[in-house]
Symmetry: C2
Subunit: 320 residues, 2 copies
């Protein structure tokens, strides 16, 4: 009964229970209560070993990340996370791996009050599909299509760390252990910007999370909104580790097109920025005013004198 | 942009739209409206190539089955299907495969009024995870834990066809083309018993769908309900193709433990059976009274004289 032992290993570690879970793990399906004034927000993301994370990634980091990339999508909608399902395909019934995976998954789930309500465990090549559900007041979901010419374009946190960790995963000359660990943590344990997403319900005209890379993801906003976007590459926010360890000329490609950042990119009417900055400061969050939405289409990165940068290869693309 | 072409191929074929989909495919997440008097029912199931279906299975059949196995779980809860998400992992950007897959998926989705509201497309070994959402009036979900000693045990449809198709997939002496096709259709295009599940809300004390095999799945009902179950193996319902083509002595193993049946097994208070039979007859559905719930534990198959059958290997088990 290896399958049931694995399920029990996961269930024991993901014990967080919410009042709105009428029936959780253990039947043919879960039953959930959605309050009448809220809408349901749902998405699913798959991680494949060797594609979405290096094969040497620890089980706990894979567990964390498989939930984090999904919560990041909920954050981009402004939704409050509620429930998750976990479909775990494993080559062997490796209880140690599953325990580590569940510990990482549960650590992030607990931070955001997420209940694991169901899933499936199957044998096959290591692949993880998580489906998450969030809740949001009616009509308040942030979309990609609301940006207007004249809006300011902003981004949370810093960009390029995860891409740098991936690029220098076999080490780089002179990189300190501390900087390396700091970049690696951004790759392995992304922090979904849930609190910011909820706050942005009151400010943003559009929002997206940065998974494929800033230019590619802003490209989705531009296309959905029917606008163009210009960003000032000299304002790209960089972490101390990136500034210290990665040569200046290599940073823009990592920050514009590296992906795996799981920050939020969003647009705001310029007159609302001061009030947004105050709200963000109260929560000790960082946002950076990067550029503007303009009439037209496409996304352009400009240098500090307004000249277009050579475009880096833009955006993670499966089947490339 | 191979990934976006694949998504567009799927989206074009899964065009069914429901009024309760506030925002469908194309943003970071879908937004859905759940009516205030209904509960949400959610489950997820993964199919892995070569594990859950033979490698030679057609793309359209894989698409159909990936949704069918999930709708079968909703049927077992008595829920009305509403929305699905599709996480599709593919070795290559094979548009022909994806078009066929989406055609099969969409054919079943249309039969049950299911909207495809989101998903993910990634590169890797062929693996499909579908998450489905159903709706049900508050408190009416059918569970595994409601069977009481004295209840009758019933099953829908016929058992063993899919297992026979798998066993004789390379042909069997003297099996007619028609019988072979009939068994194969049960393996490749299972019909989730959604209408029956909804009807059973008014009758059943417990319900489960048969995916692992009748004995294994009734074992889950027995354990959850704290009862034992005895079934009369001579009453196991068999299709004409199974009766014609599979020797009598080989049938019980296929019917009791073959799995992949996607019929419903359920318990009903005996005095309610006549009214249930009438309701079922009006819908031209078939159910069979197989046995009874008893004090104790475990599931026993008895022959027509009440002697225990030798137990066949019971239930599909991953990592066995």
């Amino acid at each position: 009964m290896a399958e049931f032992a694995l399920i029990e290993t996961i269930r024991r570690r993901c014990a967080h229970v919410r009042d709105d879970v009428v029936l959780g793990i253990g039947d043919d399906a879960a039953v959930l209560a959605v309050p009448p004034d809220l809408e349901l927000v749902v998405c699913t993301d798959t991680l494949v070993a060797g594609v979405h994370f290096p094969l040497e990634t620890s089980a706990a980091d894979i567990g964390w990340k498989s939930l984090a990339v999904n919560l990041s999508d909920l954050a981009a909608m402004g939704a409050t996370p509620a429930w998750a399902l976990l479909a775990l395909t494993l080559p062997t019934a490796d209880t140690g791996f599953v325990a580590g995976f569940a510990d990482g998954f549960a650590a992030l789930a607990a931070e955001h009050g997420v209940s694991l309500i169901g899933g499936d465990t199957t044998s096959g090549p290591l692949t993880i599909t998580v489906t998450v559900h969030g809740l949001i007041p009616k009509g308040q979901a942030l979309r990609r299509n609301g940006a207007r010419a004249g809006d300011a374009v902003l981004v949370s946190g810093t960009l390029g760390d995860a891409a740098a960790a991936l690029r220098y995963r076999n080490g780089a000359d002179g990189m300190s252990v501390q900087s390396r660990a700091s970049l690696q943590a951004r790759l392995d344990r992304p922090q979904p910007r849930v609190t910011l997403g909820i706050l942005l319900r009151d400010f943003a005209s559009s929002c997206i999370d940065i998974s494929d890379g800033l230019l590619a993801d802003l490209g989705h906003v531009a296309a959905a909104s029917g606008i163009g976007i210009e960003i000032d590459a000299s304002r790209l926010p960089a972490s101390p580790a990136l500034l210290d360890q990665v040569p200046a000329e290599q940073r823009p490609a990592l920050q514009l097109a590296g992906g795996d950042d799981y920050e939020l990119a969003f647009t705001v009417a310029p007159e609302r920025i001061p009030m947004l900055q105050q709200a963000v400061a109260r929560e000790s969050m960082q946002i950076t005013h990067l550029g503007r939405a303009v009439a037209g289409s496409g996304v352009r990165a400009l240098d500090s004198e307004g000249r277009p940068l050579d475009p880096p290869r833009s955006g993670w693309e499966h089947f490339a």
